[in-house]
Symmetry: C2
Amino acid sequence: KTKIISVINQKGGVGKTTTVINLAAGLAMQNKKVLVIDLDPQGNATTGLGLSNIDSKDTIYEVLIGSKEFKDVIKNTNIDNLKIVSANVELSGLEVETAGDTKRAFFLKDKLNHFLEANQNKFSYIFVDCPPSLSLLTVMALVVSHSLIVPLQTEFFALEGLTQLMKTIERIKDRLNSDLSIRGILLTMFDKRNKLSSQVETESRNYFKEKVYNTVIPRNVRLSEAPSHGMPVLVYDKNCSGSKSYFNFTDEFINQDKFL
Amino acid sequence: KTKIISVINQKGGVGKTTTVINLAAGLAMQNKKVLVIDLDPQGNATTGLGLSNIDSKDTIYEVLIGSKEFKDVIKNTNIDNLKIVSANVELSGLEVETAGDTKRAFFLKDKLNHFLEANQNKFSYIFVDCPPSLSLLTVMALVVSHSLIVPLQTEFFALEGLTQLMKTIERIKDRLNSDLSIRGILLTMFDKRNKLSSQVETESRNYFKEKVYNTVIPRNVRLSEAPSHGMPVLVYDKNCSGSKSYFNFTDEFINQDKFL
Ligand SMILES: Nc1ncnc2c1ncn2[C@@H]1O[C@H](COP(=O)(O)OP(=O)(O)OP(=O)(O)O)[C@@H](O)[C@H]1O
Ligand SMILES: Nc1ncnc2c1ncn2[C@@H]1O[C@H](COP(=O)(O)OP(=O)(O)OP(=O)(O)O)[C@@H](O)[C@H]1O
Ligand SMILES: [Mg+2]
Ligand SMILES: [Mg+2]
């Protein structure tokens, strides 16, 4: 059964897209069938996997407004077993264009479930890359997801934002998606020269306990270089510390998945 | 005459808030009267300047919905000459709550100009900290501003997003605010170990020429530590490389301002 997992955090620049790209690629490299849905008008997951989204008319936006079918916008990437539904700036018009519709939080769920009914074994995992906000697009992701991964940048502003995020998740769980769960919190951009990083790690493990993954993603320049080559860091430089940590995270994710 | 300047970029985590806090503080330390308007429901500028926003009912949100006057929500900070209008998560409700109102892009402009008519010499500069999106809050900022500063993180995804940002600015300029100008692009989080940083710098200077400030803000852990102490890095550690660059940027801003 296909598992739908959103990677979510309303704080900007905490590693949502980098985590989607590399966890998806890591699983694909272990022969799992994976789909990435880019749900951010910035389209970073799209370009980070080497696709262009400029002037594209077969993106998640067309699916959500009903002008294209889900199956017609699924694209290959350069990685076997990894496919993507892309996004571009058109998606930023969706909230305004659907302002009257009280059911709009369910558009993504309706379209995706319709596709999955006819394609039950096509994908093991679907990862949704969310924008840095708690508005419509992120709500749509929360409504359709079975579970969530929360990247937490080990810095003050990101830790502050976690309380608000947890409240939002609780609210969606109560009203719109009672099965929603948090798989885990992934500490990202850990900077060993920054005592704040260790403080944030200690504080999050004390508070969220086993919900915090053991893997910690270190700050590593190779991770910020990889997208400019349109590939995951796992392909760009498989031996760097960023790749090692995302390979480890992939294994930790798979082991966790066995018990879920 | 009070100059209203928004710090804007829809990409997350590029240093908008850090730039607002430290440019505002740098100018205040040179005895300019400065106001920061936190326009981000994350409330990072608010907490980064040492204020609490939890359950606060005198924020920019109350002004925009008309339940408080601008003058009643201006708060002191621990820095002489620097005041702030705070934000908290309530602000994220604004877009939904005002969905019917075709004039809502002008709410901030109406309230702020009303205040400035009666308080013409109170502030030399007003800086608006924008959220990572191009939705209502950022549009409000674009409509009220005289000019903009765009922090550009020297990494691939941030450079990619610049085209879209420029188009949005042009569109607002055409339709809603013909005097809007870009004061400059500030390169941030420059990592000298990352060849990508230099490539992004070269590319932006080639393309945007003298619009790119000479000052480049380096990646410096002290900048991410300062907010956890509720103070600008200029106060937290005035001798670190992050502070030196923001002191330099303050001077460059002042010199530029003489000619504008
Ligand atoms: N561990 C890391 N070390 C160094 N750079 C990183 C790391 N993780 C991500 N980056 C880089 O940091 C920037 C922000 O990361 P990313 O875009 O994945 O965050 P995001 O949460 O998706 O941002 P947004 O909120 O804008 O969607 C990008 O330029 C990315 O390449
Ligand atoms: N030059 C720098 N070196 C190191 N850390 C920095 C630097 N500038 C900012 N930071 C830290 O990086 C993170 C992102 O910066 P900041 O919050 O200012 O960006 P932002 O663009 O306002 O983010 P958002 O899009 O979420 O509003 C913060 O934790 C901040 O303290
Ligand atoms: Mg992203
Ligand atoms: Mg900010």
